[in-house]
Amino acid sequence: MGMGSDMYRQQILDHYKNPRNYGELEDPTFTHVGENPMCGDEIRMDVRLEDDEETIEYVAFKGDGCAISQASASMLSSKLQGKTLEELLEMDRDDVVDMLGVDISPMRIKCAVLAEKVAQDGAEIYRGELDKEKTTTEE
């Protein structure tokens, strides 16, 4: 088995076909969007925080693109609920690969990490630590 079908284990396909937390929140604390123009992958993430302004209460996402990018956003939206912004910002590429549970080929890693980067940039913008209109992982 090469990397190709390894990347498309049941979990990924399940999240791609039945995305969790798909849609928009009515009262998000912050919203951020990301796009990889060369791939055409797009992700919008809505995050609602609890009253402590640190704990993530709920995450919703909308998007369009390949199975890897969309499954990653779906899984991340579930994983983040109950986590703190600090924990979100500490996540790195390895955490995303662990979450997906498959080997991601080097050419596709940008698809896998787009959702994470959108959430992280959104959190930093919310905290006033970053000024950015749109996130991309194609750079």
């Binding site: 088995m1 090469g2 990397m3 190709g4 079908s5 990347m7 498309y8 396909l13 791609y16 076909k17 123009p37 060369m38 791939c39 055409g40 992958d41 369009d64 693109g65 390949c66 199975a67 890897i68 080929s105 596709r108 698809c111």
Partner: protein
């Protein structure tokens, strides 16, 4: 019609000239269908370059010594040979070596465009332009105050020639068009476009990156003012591109890159330029690559460009028919025929092009997926990305079958 030609093109024999095609990936034979991105390099090309490095590697145009003379002669003769290959009777005086088609576009855009364009001038492009010309002319237009307009494509993926006649006016200074679309496979009526341009005293630049590798091209019959292509898409090496230009235009044009090797006389105050093409080739040029491209041209011509075109069209037609029979595959560009080249761009309904390419990779089938450097065209088609299978002289019908089988396994996986 082409069946006989296909038989006379001994593909099994030709494949021996491309040892890379014997590779297996995870025990599966490589099926290389990404030839519009780059073709594999023929052994005679590798041998010619190896011979240059092993026997007469030297810098050109400056050495008195024997090796430099040999290298200089080989480098200069490569210009003449490549010019002859595309029907340029002026030889080296009409053939500039660059590093790729993109640089050829930039050379004309800077050397000619920055001096000649101004507010009120129009550069007419097509909706199917590669970023190589689209982005370049967009930038030059922005800097000079000129405007870019785009000839539309019709629903079949062909240029709307009525719209072309509307777009090209007396304000038009340059018409820049692809000969063959790298995304749709459309073979454009370039000589008609050139005639329209000339009727309005505009120049015409034709991007032949997807045409010269796979069909006979005669720049003088087309009457193009400029014509560009790349070595690595025609069984030759990377690192070398070509720019044909009419002698009187190149003569009048100022250089766009400066340095050694392109000058006649230099003082602390000023410099004068050498002859065409050298005034456009400053610094140490791609010498080994020129030797390799010469060998590639010899190789292709010996096979016969007519036969290469027929073989590719035959494969493209077969692939088109097999994919079209699937029902859940959208194919872009014209139906098979004389105005369709040997590439097929498509999308499988339920699977993103990148997922498709990843799964096909698992079957050792190499295709391209993405925007193919034609983002505005993809916007026009209403898709973010497409998959593309592109063929060359060494591909077989069995490889088309492998393509269809691999698509089917992606379909099953996502079902």
């Amino acid at each position: 019609m082409s069946q006989q030609n296909l038989e006379s093109l001994d593909v099994e024999r030709l494949r021996e000239d491309f040892p890379i095609l014997e590779r297996e990936l995870d025990g599966k034979p490589l099926v290389y269908l990404d030839n519009a991105a780059t073709t594999q390099t023929a052994d005679p090309v590798v041998d010619a370059m190896s011979d240059y490095y092993r026997r007469y590697n030297a810098n050109v145009h400056r050495g008195i010594h024997h090796l430099s003379q040999e290298a200089s002669i080989a480098y200069e003769e490569a210009h003449d040979r490549v010019a002859e290959f595309v029907g340029a009777s002026g030889g080296r005086e009409e053939m500039i070596f660059t590093k790729n088609t993109t640089e050829s576009e930039n050379l004309v855009a800077y050397a000619w465009g920055m001096r000649e364009l101004g507010p009120g001038d129009e550069v007419v492009l097509t909706e199917m332009e590669h970023h190589a010309s689209l982005v370049t002319w967009q930038q030059i237009a922005e800097r000079t105050g000129a405007d870019c307009t785009y000839i539309q494509i019709d629903e079949t993926g062909r240029l709307d020639m009525d719209h072309a006649r509307e777009c090209i006016t007396d304000d038009t200074a340059m018409v820049s068009a692809v000969h063959v679309s790298n995304t749709l496979g459309t073979v454009n009526p370039v000589s008609e476009l050139v005639d329209i341009a000339h009727d309005h005293d505009a120049l015409a630049f034709i991007d032949g990156a997807q045409a010269v590798p796979n069909r006979p091209v005669d720049v003088e019959a087309i009457d193009a003012d400029f014509y560009a292509f790349s070595g690595h898409k025609m069984a030759g090496p990377t690192g070398i591109g070509c720019l044909y230009g009419k002698a009187h235009l190149l003569e009048e044009m100022e250089p766009y890159l400066y340095g050694g090797g392109m000058i006649r006389k230099v003082t602390f105050e000023e410099s004068t330029w050498g002859d065409v093409p050298w005034k456009f080739e400053p610094g140490t040029p791609p010498i080994a690559e020129a030797v390799g491209l010469h060998a590639a041209v010899d190789y292709l011509e010996e096979i016969g460009m007519d036969r290469i075109r027929d073989h590719e069209e035959e494969l493209a037609e077969y692939a088109y028919e097999r994919l079209a029979a699937e029902g859940d595959i959208e194919i872009y560009g014209p139906e098979p025929g004389p105005d369709r080249s040997g590439l097929v761009g498509f999308n499988l309904e339920s699977v993103h092009a990148h997922d498709l390419a990843s799964i096909m990779n698992d079957h050792a089938v190499a295709i391209r997926a993405g925007d193919h450097c034609t983002q505005p065209l993809h916007d026009r088609l209403g898709v973010a990305a497409s998959a593309r299978a592109s063929f060359y002289l060494y591909n077989t019908r069995e490889e088309v079958d492998a393509l269809v089988d691999a698509i089917d396994s992606a379909r099953q996986l996502f079902a």
